[in-house]
Symmetry: C2
Subunit: 280 residues, 2 copies
């Protein structure tokens, strides 16, 4: 997998190109802010990632209330019942079987990250060979390494490899153990949207440092937590958030957790195992 | 100093007593929420502590705007021009000379932590031998180890040892270097208020884990960052905050910082050097 990813990277990186669109002109019906006045937007997260890592899968806020904090984002559902995707104000759940359903508003989430997507900049891309190349492209384009970024990638995909997790019952096992039984699917030749959140490197224990990608197809039939992808062409939009709100669960269980544990190795195994990552 | 602090702790700890006041009954004009319905309060911080540690002393928000986020808290001023205390909606500055002035609203802060103090519980204390004993008492009383707590201690003090830092000019030196030239004063037999913020242990790099205390005297003549104190009697009020908002500076300078550096040893030398801490 290393060899294949690296080869694709070498072959396709030269072909990757980005054409900026004029800022200030709405594109595809989405409002675009002038580049000179980046909105003071807010990224809101429900709970902290180490609580999820330690097996806190009971929901702490309803999906309805979560949507008050944003129309775009990702997370999971109560009982770790699949992957959550929030797009254009609608919450979708990708179940452990890979099927997509709209989430009922009374359901709850133990961990989610959302924002009201107000696009600061957008541009088009042709081919991007891998998720790692996409991350690299975005880091170079966006900068703002200490801010929180929401990224929407509407595109045509050569392949998308996604995973989803299976509903759990108490007593819950830690996420690193549960994730080993995840379902993984590779879809070829489809259009859809990557829903991405980039957090600064210094949030470890609280959120996922770097990029965190979920995907949903345009026909809302497939999706999940993205492990790999190849982009044939896409429109990329992003929103820089300078405000970061953490909503802590108001439970004794939460307060009893040792959230200071260094679970970075476990998190990497859960969140960022990518089948296409070329080593540097 | 170790011996003296430890001795005071041994002698006076037995005399430390706390008498709870009835919850739900306003005391001293301050509203008290029923214990069963802890308010969903918000702790807001301006910037992150590692930015201050690295010498980011230029203000990023006006005091006037900061006060929109809360009427109670602590921090510093632009140019690291002293210690900031926010009490009952008024911002005070303790200058490098130890003098207290009200802060003009157009001045700015590079780092501050504030909340709208809505008291969840309050109780009275008699003697408390040291700041370390106060921390211990509060940890036992409050719990909520993963929440953010604002603590107000209105009392009579046997001694209070405070420090303040001196106004800096660019190019700024790191805080650990600057703090070595701080002024330190010990005041005896006065009444005043400790303004405290307790952060969870997992915020390192972002805020100060544990307790962070500033002080201002009732006559508004002296104050500063507290290094030590002995309490003769006090009313202690606290507010549990489940929401944590981090307002990141919107500057290129901020985004260029390596905020992931482990500066815990430096922070300890700056923030938590206490002359009265008995070793365990």
């Amino acid at each position: 997998m290393w060899g294949r990813g690296a080869l694709c990277g070498l072959v396709l990186f030269g072909a990757m190109s980005c054409r900026p669109v004029e800022i200030g002109v709405p594109t595809g019906g989405k409002a675009v802010a002038p580049a000179s006045s980046v909105n003071r937007d807010r990224m809101t997260q429900i709970s902290v990632i180490n609580a999820l890592m330690l097996g806190q899968y009971d929901g702490v806020i309803s999906i309805e209330e979560m949507l008050d904090y944003g129309d775009f984002g990702l997370g999971t559902l109560d009982h770790l019942d699949g992957e959550l995707i929030v797009l254009d104000g609608t919450a979708y759940r990708v179940g452990g079987d890979g099927n997509v359903v709209e989430v009922e508003p009374h359901r709850t989430t133990p961990f989610a990250v959302v924002t009201s997507l107000q696009i600061d900049d957008q541009f088009r891309c042709d081919t991007v060979a891998s998720l790692a190349k996409l991350d690299q492209l975005l880091d170079e384009r966006i900068g703002h390494q200490n801010d929180f970024i929401a990224i929407r990638v509407d595109g045509q995909f050569g392949t998308v490899t996604v995973r989803s997790v299976k509903r759990q019952e108490p007593p819950y096992q830690p996420l690193a153990a549960v994730a080993r039984s995840q379902g993984v699917w590779t879809h070829e030749g489809l259009s859809g949207t990557l829903v991405g959140i980039r957090c600064p490197p210094w949030v470890h224990g609280i959120n996922v440092p770097g990029f965190h990608w979920h995907f949903i197809s345009d026909d809302r039939q497939v999706g999940g937590h993205v492990l790999a992808c190849q982009i044939r062409g896409a429109q990329i939009s992003y929103d820089v958030c300078n405000d970061w709100l953490v909503r802590l669960p108001d439970t004794q269980q939460f307060n009893a957790l040792d959230l200071g544990l260094d679970l970075r190795a476990e998190l990497k195994s859960v969140e960022r195992s990518r089948t296409d990552t070329p080593h540097p």
